[in-house]
Amino acid sequence: MTAPRILYCHCAYAKVVPEETKQEVLGRLSASGLPFEAVTDLCEMAARKDPALERLADGGPTKIAACFPRAVKWLFFGAGFPISDDGVEVLNMREAPADEIVSGLLGEVEV
């Protein structure tokens, strides 16, 4: 079975995700050597209905590190690129500590 893709949202245009959580998650993701996608701010992309969202939404099983799952789901939908309900897991960096997010993203493969 192929590993789920990983998408990280940097939530750059507002301070709603704690800075330490973002830095810790991004640092450990890049240190893992695993492939992943990172975007500046999913909200901003959704507002512009950025066509790049299509590639991000359309990739099969995906783990997304961002904020509340309900918000992320309907942001993609509102931009015209719905994500599937199956196989997409959203990890909430607004609420969960970095450790939890990283183990959710990397599972057992963390280095």
Binding site: A12, Y13, G27, A31, E37, V39, T40, C43, A47, R70
Partner: protein, 267 residues
Amino acid sequence: MSAHRLDGTRIRVVLHDGDADTSQRLETLTALLEDGHSVTCAAAPPDPSDDVVLARFDESTATIRARVEQKIGRVDPEPSPFWKPWFPVIDYDRCTNCMQCLTFCLFDVYGVKEEKIDVQNESNCKTDCPACSRVCPEAAIMFPKYKKGPINGDVVRPEDVQSEAMKVDISTLLGGDLYAALRTRSDEARKRFSTERDESKALLERKRCLKKLKKQLDIPDEVLMTLPSAGDIEERARRAREKAKRRGERSQSVKDKKPTTEDDWGI
């Protein structure tokens, strides 16, 4: 410095191998993300393509930025003003298509697409104003960058839908017709501007009049002070009244009939 295309298009940078240590990797990634670019971290270099910039983790951030700028061709000498992405996001699992949000919004953020409420003018939305989410009877409107739930996307609990803070009935707000109230206050403010030398006094008066609205809906002061003109508000009030009248007439005979045209929504 950030390097966006003048049309606002962002570039995607594909970062691959290279012997950078963890802190250099993080620095490069953070710099590119804060410049506004998407980044793909790949295990191996992909085939070159037109819409991406390839870079290695062990290259300096300055080198990668220079390559990005070269790819973009032109760099906006005056980057467009900062816009916090603030706009309503609708949870269609909850939305009942009642159109209260569309009727309420004075800035034409909402429209109708294929008979459904639709967010159409995101950038018209007033930053940090979550007012329309509070008039939604189903708690279906989110602002992902709002501080509190459920407006920020957190799970909606039964008490959120019931709570007074969440559920503001437009028709009873400010003791009756919201738009008439806004219009009156707007006219008052205008008169004061023309008759009083002390403009700050008039501004204070307008602020005071709208305090209730601000408190109930968490509307920032700046938004209250930039409400559309009295004429615009009057026009919306007229449409809202017509809509309510038509609804009343219709409700007797075709209670559950859904509107089929934009006109039916009174917009």
